[in-house]
Subunit: 340 residues, 2 copies
């Protein structure tokens, strides 16, 4: 029998805090008995929300944190100054091993900075990538890195490929995940300087199933399980996924309203269409881990609702059970040995 897992949740982060966050935490605690939740935020506000629900009181604790880091604040300064913010308090709990994981829908910048400065990197990890799951025709792929660490070096990308592969295999359950690098052509000689330098290094990695380059056109078809790229490119891919999905849905809706015949048809297809489009919503897989840290930090989308918070919390359990950080540490040790 597994010990219960302690998950600190930022009750003040995101557009729908605290109500959707608290609801998501309650749903997670009701769904699984092996979860202990530490809800971090302004005590009165959080307790007021909690009162609305029935929940196992012995497994949800409120931890007071008076300050809130806003999305627009410069992250480095915010992490340094706001010691009583929910993000800093939550990250410190992970650092002190009072929590196994921290989940936040708050400021991406502050979470990325806090993860590195407070929780700290696993020894040997050069940069912790932010790795969201994106929907594809075949399921989901891990897009690594979408963080703020732009202008990465080839050695960073190799570590992203390794960590991403471990995550997809053990958390998402894809055996021998296909790893590809984002490129502007399929051939090895194509690409910018970074890709050309990284490609042969990935080919040499015996611990991953490297399948070569992936053009952006193939990403939505699910041709790779782990999509490796530098954070600027990753951010462009992730945001374009969001923007294009919502725009195309809007265009389809407008088209449906264009004739009487199509209006009647629209009423008949509405439920089926809604369900399908939901499965292709990039925000639905909102729990993106910041990999390679000494503890687990998960960033969910700023617009997260209760269901995404609940899913992100449950995802932390798998991460912990599968001992992902132990596997990353072991991988780093092995690859260092391999290079000697």
């Amino acid at each position: 029998m597994q010990d219960s897992i302690k998950i600190a949740v930022d009750a003040m982060g995101g557009d729908n805090a605290p109500f959707e966050i608290v609801k998501g935490a309650v749903d997670a605690a009701n769904a699984r008995k092996d979860i202990q939740i530490l809800l971090i935020g302004r005590q009165n506000a959080v307790e007021q929300e909690l009162q609305k629900y029935s929940y196992p009181a012995e497994r949800i604790t409120v931890v007071n944190a008076e300050e809130v880091i806003e999305t627009a604040e410069p992250p480095v300064m915010a992490i340094r100054k706001k010691k009583q913010s929910s993000i800093v308090v939550g990250m410190n709990m992970v650092k002190q091993k009072e929590a196994d994981a921290f989940v936040s829908a708050g400021s991406s910048g502050a979470i990325l900075v806090g993860g590195q400065v407070i929780v700290g990197r696993i020894k040997g990890i050069e940069r912790p990538p932010l790795a969201p799951l994106i929907p594809t025709e075949k399921g989901v792929s891990l897009l690594i890195d979408c963080g703020a660490n732009v202008d990465a070096r080839s050695s960073h990308l190799v570590q992203f490929a390794r960590m991403g592969s471990i995550y997809m295999e053990h958390v998402v359950g894809i055996s021998n995940p296909k790893v590809a690098i984002v490129n502007i052509g399929a051939e090895e000689e194509k690409g910018n300087a970074l890709v050309k330098e990284t490609f042969p290094l990935l080919k040499e990695c015996k611990d991953i199933n490297f399948t070569g380059s992936i053009e952006a056109r193939e990403i939505p078809h699910g041709e790779a399980d782990v999509i490796v790229c530098e954070a600027f490119t990753g951010n462009v891919i992730l945001k374009l996924y969001e923007g294009l999905s919502s725009t195309l849905l809007g265009v389809v809706k407008k088209g449906l309203m264009s004739t009487l015949r199509s209006k009647i048809g629209a009423l008949m297809i509405k439920p089926a269409l809604k369900k399908t489009m939901k499965s292709f919503d990039a925000t639905a897989y909102g729990g993106a881990p910041l990999l390679g840290l000494k503890g687990l930090v998960v960033k969910t989308h700023g617009s997260s609702k209760a269901v995404e918070i609940k899913n992100a919390i449950i995802q932390c359990v798998t991460f912990k059970e599968q001992e992902i950080n132990e596997k990353i540490k072991q991988n780093i040790i092995n690859s260092d040995k391999g290079e000697e």
Copy 2:
């Protein structure tokens, strides 16, 4: 009365050559009396296609070119060796002023190399960008650069912004076009090294309407008319546009087939939906100019059908009539003066 404009068309380029190319050329010649077309390719094959149509024989000439550059061939070598290929012959006609423009659906790499090596750059232009139009909610935006010139410098991006602005104003007809740089956040301090270096330079350009950063999420909403980026990023955006549009349409179709009710509805919405999706097809605006060359070279999508070839040919007339290259030359002279 305008003199007629001579347009060389690569009859052998693209997936549907020569039949769709020849048909597109015939359609263009029939649509406009001010166009002279030089159809370049294997004489027999091209003439066989031409026989199928009625067309003004005095305005369509076949120019024999026995060789064909295949998409998979290394471009530099192909341009050097295949002197009798349709691409090399067409480019040489532009160079020798025997043609005002060259339109090809053939190998992107060969067109980019040939444009620089054979046609040559306008004095002062550091790199010729490939600039396709992409569909948005509001119409179209120019994505500049999507070529093979990755790892650009900030001075290149500034020239892209200027040339893109001239193109959108005078060819597409958007007055005072909004110019934005692709970035991972809206703030000036965000971005990778290249964007951070380029941003202040664009702010200083008095001849363009620079509106700042654009996140990839906002691109499909049509927030900018000219979207400036380095070619690797541009290629990712263009290809993801294609891949995601086709995947989402597939997902929608699958959803429509999921219940009996939705199947009936699907039949009713089919015509309206088809029309709408067509307007959002990135390949439909297939004529991407390679800007900054001494003549005009237009690359159309490899899968171009007759209608795209026809549109690309007609687009060349506007380009020539509006004296885009004269405007680019003047702009370079003025901006050099400004820097002194």
